[in-house]
């Protein structure tokens, strides 16, 4: 079954619920190497997204994602607001007008989102940021789709890679974002942004 707008809306709702539930956990990760607000920021942003979703209940996937991006830019603040906001805005632009998403469409959307984060934040993989979950997820997704695996399997592979990528930030030394101020002391803690990013991929495999 090809996922459609309804699937995307359901995914956003599940993600909002998961962020709300993980709010304190994400915040505690940020307390260790940042400023103890990542969970609060994401929860604030996705609470606003939930409020906005009814206005795009009938819209195409591109419009839905752009609305999410604009809402995040306007409500999250911090580093994650412009980064996640840009990601969703770019994905929305890439998927303008779509009612359904073939696997290659989904891949194009994620690639645009990833490039948006890179363009905005000027980080690369290995700097202990959300890119370290997103990058591996994207690689896994691309490989699975190129190998013509069933889409559900591809998403599962991406989610596992995101999760592994998030865990792999623990031994890294941060060189971007607030955690970079800690230098060596940032080692040994999992990156909050990578953790929230992995959660979005997980929510594509859960509850289906």
């Amino acid at each position: 079954m090809t996922p459609d707008r309804t699937c995307v809306l359901a995914w956003l709702r599940r993600s909002a619920a998961a962020l709300h539930e993980q709010r304190d956990y994400l915040t505690s990760l940020d307390a260790a190497i940042g400023d103890a607000d990542h969970g609060i920021n994401m929860d604030r942003g996705f609470t606003a997204v939930l409020d906005k979703l009814p206005t795009v209940a009938e819209a195409d996937v591109g419009t839905i994602l752009k609305t999410v991006g604009a809402t995040l830019v306007s409500t999250v603040g911090g580093a994650s607001g412009p980064l996640y906001g840009t990601a969703f805005l770019r994905a929305g632009t890439a998927l303008a007008g779509r009612q359904e998403l073939r696997p290659v469409d989904a891949l194009a959307g994620f690639e645009a989102a990833y490039e948006g984060i890179v363009a905005r934040g000027k980080a690369q993989r290995g700097e202990k940021t959300m890119l370290d979950a997103f990058g591996p997820a994207l690689d896994a997704l691309r490989a699975a789709i190129e190998a013509k695996q069933p889409f559900a399997n591809a998403l599962r592979a991406a989610a596992d890679a995101a999760q592994a990528g998030a865990l792999a930030t623990t031994p890294m030394m941060a060189t971007k974002g607030r955690a970079s101020y800690l230098g060596q002391r940032s080692i040994g803690h999992q990156d909050p942004g990578a953790t929230s990013l992995a959660l979005f991929f997980q929510m594509m495999t859960d509850g289906k």
Binding site: G34, G77, R120
Partner: protein, 333 residues
Amino acid sequence: MKKLINSPESVVDDELHGLEAAHPDLVRVDFENHIVVRADAPVVGKVGVISGGGSGHEPMHGGFVGRGMLDAACPGAVFTSPVPDQMLAATRAVNGGAGVLHIVKNYTGDVLNFEMAAELAQAENIQVASVTMDDDVAVKDSLYTAGRRGVGATVLAEKIVGAAAAAGAPLERVANLCRKVNANARSMGMALTSCTVPAAGKPTFELGDDEMEIGIGIHGEPGRTRMKLAPAAQIAELLLLPILEDLPFRSGDTVLAFVNGMGGTPLIELYVMYNEVSRILKGKGVTIGRNLIGSYITSLEMAGCSVTLLKLDDELTQLWDAPVHTPALRWRA
């Protein structure tokens, strides 16, 4: 968590309501756009100066809006950069036709959000210049960091460029002055206790009864090193020596010395620290031409302090001395 607040959700708005109620002659608060604006903004023909950042650093920035300093401030949630919509609304509100300066503290979040706002304002044909403050020597400015943080120098820059803008300087000169302040200022901070983000409800970090953090930022970020508690004289050295070496400040220089409390530090301790700072500088042949002692850029109720030195010349001294009238900083007015 012990705070004089109604709820974590309402604390920023409650504070802004208090600010507006207390100083209607100086500021008005636009709650729709969540910005603090000078009561008589926009001032036609004057460069508008705005700043912003997370809340929890009071009086910065809202307490610096008024005459001779900021035209608007954009308060984010506690310790969270404001969103571009706020900076865009502030830019519109203070644009008197001579353009608007954005004073941005160098944090990824602040930089990205201000950047988006500047793009939007420029798309509306408002002339915007942005200056990023990065005076914190606790952070190495290298490929391996997001660059130095903006801390105490921001307060000094806001006063000085506010005076220049009030005197009619054009946008380019105001922006260059801001860069000059940043280039000539260095800071470093330390904490005796953590602070508690209201929505988090518990201290950001835990410190032993005999420990302190050196090199903290202003968001309850842990510092670069944790040490045994030391006498004020030694703490002053730990903060001042990296500052002095970095610019470097040299014998014969005249500086503005700013001893800042982090929010939970009583004035008696800040004067004890100032005494040590002045003693060390005297020993190095550095003259304190001006000073500022008090809690102006804070981290909620954190106990601790930061020291900022700004190398002065006649231009900076005159602009520092110029009249200012804001809720938090006031003289000759």
